[in-house]
């Protein structure tokens, strides 16, 4: 059994507090999740959730000159991130600085707005535009995921746009937009606070009550109405500063923890992930028609996406890769995994989960995961339940999920090719203007 024992309390203002004691090292991990991400944005104001995350580090009423200074000086590492579904903030501190970290988190939840200024917004807008340039625009194949999400999800679905946001929207965001966003989404009832490590549960809960208890409750955030997603074949070609043509095949799939999600995770591993996968064996090792390969089920709250990505070896075409990939998917959907493959998947899942409970803090540490399970499943210690999804997945379930979702007739196919590539690098595909992505 894999288990992370915890105590959970909910303050009168709605804040969930989860404490997990682990005294192996003199460290404490603090993690705060806000159940808001780019899925809560609307067209014309994209990128606001992430831009807002940057502003959370700039200062609050009683800590006006920034969050990194006092925390780093206390020996903390700290960071935050924004996804489509949630925004998280964490500190990993020597035990003695636990109260300091909690105080900082409380101050920016309760008293952020007085420290907000036009200058700070403008500077962080510049930083975020540079993050977009560095991580996407100036990186080979960096715009591919934008084009795929754009194609998989209709314009009225919030997964249609990238979390980093459209530059024009970022440029247009005002202080009033930021304030309204804070008021609507950053309140105790829309948050989950986890503390894991060398702490005493009673003492931590007392501190949390004293620091967070007086922060007023907010209006509950209602679930988002999303349009239904209809998978349909779309085929595109986009030029980029790259050397080798690369093919992306993508499908909409079940969301996080929905039936089929774990099975598709395993299907991705068996078909396209790493050197033990069928496509590695076939495309890279045996036929030598591909040089790079990856695959995965990305599980998000409102929907999942399944992708297979492969780059063509010099002298080979994306049409060849596409045909070979479909053959392998069809074979899997017909015959399912072998017993050996299934055994291997199970021990790999068991091993991966053992490492998932090794660190207290940071992205993916125990505090972060307790919050994730609390937000998505309302049950912080869901480690074994989660692992069981993988251990208990049958070969037949893998086979049928692959057959149900990975249908070539409704795949989104994107070719990213070197600048100046002429002709039709992918059959029946429309040219996509890089500037329009």
């Amino acid at each position: 059994m894999i288990s992370v024992p915890f105590t959970k309390a909910t303050l009168a203002n709605g804040l969930d507090v989860i404490v997990h004691e682990d005294h192996d090292a003199p460290l404490a991990a603090i993690s705060v999740w806000y159940h808001v991400g780019s899925k809560n944005e609307r067209e014309g104001l994209t990128g606001l959730a992430h831009l807002f995350e940057h502003l959370m580090f700039e200062g609050s009423e009683h800590q006006p000159d920034g969050y990194f200074g006092p925390l780093q000086e206390a020996g903390a590492s700290l960071n935050g991130s924004t996804s489509t579904d949630r925004t998280n903030y964490w500190e990993l501190v020597p035990t003695s600085a636990t109260r300091l970290a909690l105080w900082m988190e409380a101050d920016r939840l309760g008293w952020l707005l007085p420290a907000l200024s036009q200058d700070r917004l403008d500077t962080q807008r510049g930083v975020v535009l540079n993050e977009r340039r560095q991580s996407y625009e100036n990186r080979p194949y960096g715009l591919a995921q934008f084009a795929i999400m754009d194609a998989l999800f209709p314009a009225s679905h919030p997964y249609h746009w990238p979390t980093i946001g459209e530059p024009a929207d970022l440029a247009a965001a005002t202080l009033d937009d930021v304030r309204a966003f804070f008021t609507r989404y950053y309140h105790p009832g829309n948050a989950s606070l986890a503390i894991a490590g060398d702490v005493k549960t009673d003492e931590v809960l007392r501190h949390v009550e004293a620091l967070f208890g007086s922060i007023p409750a907010g209006e509950p955030v209602r679930p988002i109405d999303t349009p239904s997603i209809v998978a349909r074949s779309q085929r595109f070609v986009m030029e980029d500063r790259v050397e080798l043509p690369r093919l992306y095949l993508a499908w909409p799939t079940p969301g996080l923890f929905e039936p089929g999600d774990a099975e598709l995770d395993l299907v991705a591993d068996l078909i396209a992930n790493g050197r033990t996968s069928r496509l590695y064996s076939r495309l890279i090792h045996d036929r030598r028609i591909a040089t790079e390969l990856a695959g995965g089920q990305t599980s998000r709250e409102l929907a999942g996406t399944f992708q297979i990505i492969a780059s063509a070896a010099p002298g080979h075409t994306l049409d060849e890769l596409e045909a070979a990939i479909y053959e392998e998917i069809d074979r899997f959907a017909q015959d399912g995994p072998t017993t050996d493959e299934l055994d291997r998947s199970r021990v790999q899942a068991e091993s991966a989960f053992a490492f998932r409970v090794e660190s207290l803090g940071g992205f993916g540490g125990k505090a972060d995961q307790l919050n994730a399970y609390n937000i998505y499943l309302e049950s912080p210690d869901s480690f074994q339940t989660d692992l069981d999804r993988y251990i208990n997945a049958s070969g037949d379930a893998l086979r049928s999920q692959a057959g149900r979702w990975l249908d070539r007739r409704v795949a989104v196919a994107l070719a990213v090719v070197p600048q100046g590539t002429s002709g039709d690098p992918l059959r029946d595909a429309a040219r996509l203007d890089r500037q329009a992505v």
Binding site: D24, P26, L27, E61, Q63, G66, F68, G69, P70, Q72, E73, A74, G75, A76, S77, V93, P94, S96, A97, R99, L100, W103, M104, T123, R125, G126, V127, N130, R133, Q134, S135, N138, R139, R241, E243, L244, G274, R275, T276, S281, I284, H285, R288, T291, E292, S311, A313, P314, D343, R344, V347, Q348, E350, S351, A352, A354, F355, E358, S359, L360
Partner: protein
């Protein structure tokens, strides 16, 4: 105390690096064990103190290519069967080839350690290195090089080490170039394995939920048969550090940012100034609140981040500032960085700023030793650089005593903006005129891939 008064960070509990149990097999292989029982897992790293710095002239990329070939077939298994065998243990083999060392690492459930070590022994002692695998792996590497030739960060790194070290063993990327890969034959790979891989130059480091007293005996059954060999000495010697003061502009038409590398050759890991340099770097560019990140990101908003680092290697190292800035701010960003490098040499660091930097290093040190993987990587440092066992326990007291004068002396000796090489990968049309205002010669350059 008022609700709105910030709590003090308190006094952290000091920690000690765990004891290392050492044995040496008859063939010379060092075996180190560290017990770490937080979780039923283990990490095992075989460290070979030879790396891309040992690439022969004209055969750059050989160490890395050889490392990659080891698990393309070994003992009774071909490449796919080997990957499958590791996969069935719930693990995989990671092979990393750096300038000074090569490491092979498996991490997994503690119960699979015996089988994982047996597979690892096959890989280092009985690699097949066959023609078909060699051809395939070389082909994949040539493609990889082509792909990397379009990455702004890799273009900058290549141009930078090549300007700093020239023909020295550290002056090329681990992957080599397409020309050097073309020149490498399968016999070169076999000869490199035969000359460089051996127990004398290697250390096996096992960290996790294991009985460290029994590791030596256990490892003897798997690695005891490794022939002793005559480990060829490492090739890297202290470089001749003639500064290259050029501004090297690598054209990347249409790029929205300029990727920057600014710096020069630095000291080795064994420098007596180590603690002063780590502290100096925390002030200058090692952390979010350091001077250069504050200026370029938090004041000007022209980058997502800027950092400085000393990359301490066995016989020398580098000092560099790495950042990527919006194209229209290239000239001012370079000038700002040079200004900060100059300022830290001119004026002693104010006591408050120095104390903050030291506090973050010393109070946060405990975070580096939480997981088995972190402990294994720390032990690898000890083995790779021949550092004493108490190296990590001496860090906090070592930094505590670093004075303003010591930081100033370290800056004067080891930060030399006048000698700095400046590499810019960006749109030449936008960047060139901006760079010419620096008053240095701007040369168009193209890194070799």
């Amino acid at each position: 105390m008022s609700r709105f008064e910030r709590p003090s960070p308190g006094h952290p509990t000091p920690i000690h690096f765990p004891a290392i149990t050492r044995t040496r097999l008859d063939n010379g292989l060092g075996v180190w064990g560290i017990a770490h029982r937080r979780a039923p897992i283990v990490t095992a790293t075989l460290l070979l103190a030879r790396g891309s710095g040992d690439d022969p002239i004209g055969r750059h990329g050989l160490a890395s290519l050889t490392g990659d070939l080891l698990d393309e077939g070994a003992g009774t298994r071909d490449a796919i069967a080997l990957a499958d065998a590791f996969g069935r243990l719930g693990t995989q083999l990671d092979i990393d080839v750096g300038p000074d060392a090569t490491s092979l690492t498996v991490s997994g459930l503690a119960r699979v350690l015996p089988q994982a070590l047996a597979l690892m022994a096959d890989v280092v002692m009985r690699p097949r290195i066959e023609a078909a695998d060699f051809a395939r792996v070389r082909e994949l590497r040539l493609s990889r090089l082509r792909q990397l030739s379009r990455s702004a960060a890799t273009m900058a790194d290549r141009a930078y080490v090549s300007a700093l070290f020239g023909a020295h063993a550290y002056g090329h990327g681990a992957l080599g170039t397409s020309a050097s890969l073309d020149a490498i034959s399968i016999d070169d790979a076999r000869a490199f394995w035969s000359a460089m891989y051996g127990p004398v130059a290697s250390t096996l480091i096992v960290v996790g939920d294991v009985d460290v007293a029994e590791i030596g005996a256990h490892v003897d059954t798997t690695f005891g048969g490794w022939r002793e060999g005559t480990a060829a000495p490492p090739r890297a010697v202290t470089p001749d550090a003639t500064p290259d003061r050029r501004v090297l502009l690598v054209d990347r038409p249409g790029a929205p940012q300029a990727e920057l590398r600014i710096g020069h050759v630095g000291p080795s890991r064994l420098t007596p100034a180590y603690h002063a340099l780590v502290t100096l770097n925390a002030v200058l560019g090692g952390q979010f609140t350091s001077r250069i990140n504050r200026r370029l990101r938090e004041e000007k908003g022209v980058t997502y981040g800027a950092r400085t680092s000393f990359d301490f290697r066995r016989v020398a190292g580098t000092f560099s500032c790495d950042t990527s800035v919006q194209a229209d701010a290239t000239g001012t960003a370079v000038a700002d960085v040079l200004d900060e490098l100059d300022r830290v040499r001119q004026d002693e660091v104010p006591a408050v700023e120095l104390d903050a930097a030291k506090a973050s290093l010393t109070r946060g040190y405990v975070r580096n030793f939480e997981t088995a993987g972190q402990l294994a990587r720390a032990a690898v440092q000890l083995a790779a650089y021949g550092l004493a066992d108490d190296t990590f326990d001496r860090f906090v007291p070592g930094v505590d005593v670093v004075s303003r004068a010591a930081v100033h002396a370290a800056a004067s000796e080891f930060i030399r903006p006048a000698d700095a090489t400046i590499v810019v990968v960006g749109d030449a049309e936008t960047c060139q005129a901006q760079l010419e205002t620096l008053g240095r010669t701007v040369e168009l350059a193209r890194p070799e891939f």
